[in-house]
Symmetry: C6
Subunit: 79 residues, 6 copies
Amino acid sequence: MSDTLQLVPGNSLITATAEEGRQLAIKLSRLIIKATQPDAALRERLRPIYAEDAAMLIAIGQTVATEFATIAAANNYWR
Amino acid sequence: MSDTLQLVPGNSLITATAEEGRQLAIKLSRLIIKATQPDAALRERLRPIYAEDAAMLIAIGQTVATEFATIAAANNYWR
Amino acid sequence: MSDTLQLVPGNSLITATAEEGRQLAIKLSRLIIKATQPDAALRERLRPIYAEDAAMLIAIGQTVATEFATIAAANNYWR
Amino acid sequence: MSDTLQLVPGNSLITATAEEGRQLAIKLSRLIIKATQPDAALRERLRPIYAEDAAMLIAIGQTVATEFATIAAANNYWR
Amino acid sequence: MSDTLQLVPGNSLITATAEEGRQLAIKLSRLIIKATQPDAALRERLRPIYAEDAAMLIAIGQTVATEFATIAAANNYWR
Amino acid sequence: MSDTLQLVPGNSLITATAEEGRQLAIKLSRLIIKATQPDAALRERLRPIYAEDAAMLIAIGQTVATEFATIAAANNYWR
């Protein structure tokens, strides 16, 4: 893990809207991949592999859904 | 991620019924795939791959179940 | 997704018993597969593939467990 | 799904102890496999496949963990 | 499942510390594998398979994380 | 599992910020791998395997998301 990589943009799970919560969920999931594989060139080579693979796209969706569950609870579901 | 793609239709997790909650869960899971792979033609080529593969259909079901858990909690389970 | 397919039988997560909650969890998970792959003949061809594959049977169990967690919470665990 | 198969033994998630809760989690996960593949002889043939495969044993553990989370919440964690 | 195998050491989810909670999560996940595959010699043969396989190590981590979520909730997060 | 390996740094799930919570989630998930495979040289050989594999990077993200859900709840989401 890079010591300087920020893992939570704005250091908060609180967002104004559900839409922004969803965007944050995507960012959180991408930042873990960045922390695990800090080499930007290598990540760039991996990108078409998962973005063109149906099973990996589904798996990304599962991860974002899990991140979003936490963010939604943090925001009391924007009720 | 496309900056203009709306990730949460209506920008709310609140739905009138459980049925609509389930429809929203399906939409949320599809919109993450759309955000990760914005190329519509490529997504169209992937569609028969996952829609005719038993393991991928099950994995889609798992993702929708996770999205629905959040939506159901947001709606206090439509009790 | 078929516009006319009902995704939540009875449009409610509330069931009289845990047993009925479990049956509902199975139904919910199957209806997502039906929504994703509306072709009945194709689903019929896929059925022996997952019903005779140990890994897929386990994955179906994982999905049902996730659906059931939501239904059980909705019913306050039938306490 | 067999109409007569009982999916929740005793039709209750409440158990006297955490140990019994864990046993119930195992039973619930097995009964979903039984409901999905009602043919006992076929299930018997599948058994060595998953019981001797490291990845499938881990996947079974994941499913039981998810079932147990629900049972534990139902029992207020036997506190 | 062995009738005599104890699935929850001490028959309780309550631990003094988060560290002990984590140890319990590891034990719970291993005991499910033991219950599913009671043959010690066979489990021993499987051990290097998963302990030297990156994907399986990650999957074990996922299972332990799920068990730990339950234990942490049971202990009110040791707050 | 090594008896002396500390599985929860600081023996607490409480962190000052969401950012630190995220760092803890990464650490917890790595320490389970360390507990399961105590051989440092072997773990080092596995590292490029998962860090250069798109599917494994996604799976790591799923595990960290699950650990983070627990940590975030423990900290009342840093609200």
